[in-house]
């Protein structure tokens, strides 16, 4: 399948809670292939979630191995079905952008390490800890499965670098 167009907000699918993948059939395998093709063609894209291509199912792909921020610590190309975060730790703020919200970026706080459990296309279940940028990318893509956009998580305005208190 060719790469699919990335849907942008306000497409309603982006705010829906996606349904779990219950059976791995040809349609799911085709979805995985579409997600991978779409990620490969997005300029500098490190992940795509199924809702972004119009499919409200709990599936996403992540690959930070070619990114400057992710090349030190990563698990390569990840296909994640029904991913769950089973543990998280640390926190850091990063300025994120999203292909579904063009021309806007914002400071988002994410866990710096997440233990994630997910199924792959063969039905096998994996669990491991991701850190750094890979952890950020996984959290961002998984948010799409719950209809959460980075706009829902912005922690500070660009002008809010230091909060003003009293003037004496």
């Amino acid at each position: 399948m060719p790469p699919q167009p990335i849907l942008t907000y306000p497409h309603p699918v982006l705010k829906k809670i996606a349904k779990p993948v219950t059976v791995i059939d040809d349609a799911i395998l085709a979805l995985i292939s579409d997600l991978l093709d779409t990620m490969k063609t997005g300029p500098g894209s490190v992940g795509v979630a199924a809702p972004q291509i119009g499919v409200s199912l709990r599936a996403c792909v992540v690959d930070v191995s070619n990114n400057r921020l992710g090349k030190e610590n990563n698990h390569g190309l990840l296909v994640m079905l029904n991913p769950e975060i089973v543990a998280r730790s640390g926190s850091a703020v990063m300025r994120e952008g999203c292909m579904s919200i063009p021309d806007y970026t914002g400071e988002v706080e994410r866990a710096t390490a997440v233990t994630v459990r997910f199924m792959v296309g063969t039905g096998k279940v994996y669990e491991f800890e991701a850190i750094g940028f890979e952890a950020v990318a996984i959290q961002h893509e998984m948010d799409h499965l719950d209809g959460i956009l980075f706009l829902d998580r912005i922690v500070s305005l660009k002008t809010g670098l230091f909060r003003r208190k009293s003037y004496n």
């Binding site: 300029p43 500098g44 894209s45 490190v46 992940g47 990114n67 921020l69 990063m94 300025r95 994120e96 952008g97 999203c98 292909m99 021309d103 970026t105 940028f133 950020v136 990318a137 961002h140 893509e141 980075f150 660009k158 002008t159 670098l161 230091f162 003003r164 003037y167 004496n168």
Partner: protein
């Protein structure tokens, strides 16, 4: 000014008021009533004042005098001050920010010229500031000046090279300067 320019429906609106709840609501009520759209805006507390800068458009040709009249009434009622400027079409577009985005923090004991010296060097090297905040902190005995700015580096300019450009100011102004990349991650 030609009549055509006068009727362009793009304006920069600057508002400053002694801070109180309701400044944004009062201002945007006027704009809403006149059918104006807020295309872009930045509003913040500055000292005990609240400052608003808005790019405002109207779908149809719209005389500046109508906005001015409305805001004059608001000024008379609440004391906020307004400045209006007609914008040309090309001032509405966001210029593309192609290069690397970095955050430069400058801080140290307060002294004259910190903002000027640093920004002059940046300007001389075509480094474009996109956002800037300053604040005086510390105590009366030991005032500390903090300058935070975001800037786009031109092609070929690196974070390290930018940091090196500012080295003379570290010594002459006796301030700490750090430069780091904040180019957004695209997910």
């Amino acid at each position: 000014m030609t009549k055509k320019t006068e009727e362009l429906a793009h304006f920069a609106v600057t508002i400053i008021s002694k801070d109180r709840p309701g400044i944004v609501a009062d201002t945007t009520e006027v704009l809403y009533r006149l059918g104006c759209n807020i295309e872009d805006s930045s509003c913040t507390m500055l000292g005990g004042d609240f400052a608003m800068i808005l790019i405002v458009t109207h779908d149809k040709p719209f005389p500046k005098i109508r906005l001015a009249d409305e805001f004059r009434l608001l000024h008379e009622r609440t004391g906020l001050t307004v400045h209006l400027r007609t914008l040309h079409e090309d001032e509405l577009k966001h210029p593309s920010e192609e290069g690397e985005l970095c955050l430069i923090s400058v801080y140290g004991s307060d002294r004259p010229g910190i903002v000027y010296q640093v920004t002059r060097t940046l300007a001389d090297h075509k480094i474009n500031i996109t956002d800037l905040n300053t604040r005086l902190i510390g105590t009366q005995e030991e005032p500390v000046y903090v300058l935070m700015l975001e800037a786009v580096l031109p092609q070929g300019m690196t974070v390290d090279a930018t940091s090196a450009l500012l080295e003379t100011h570290r010594n002459e102004l006796q301030v700490e300067i750090s430069v780091r990349t904040i180019t957004p991650v695209s997910l």
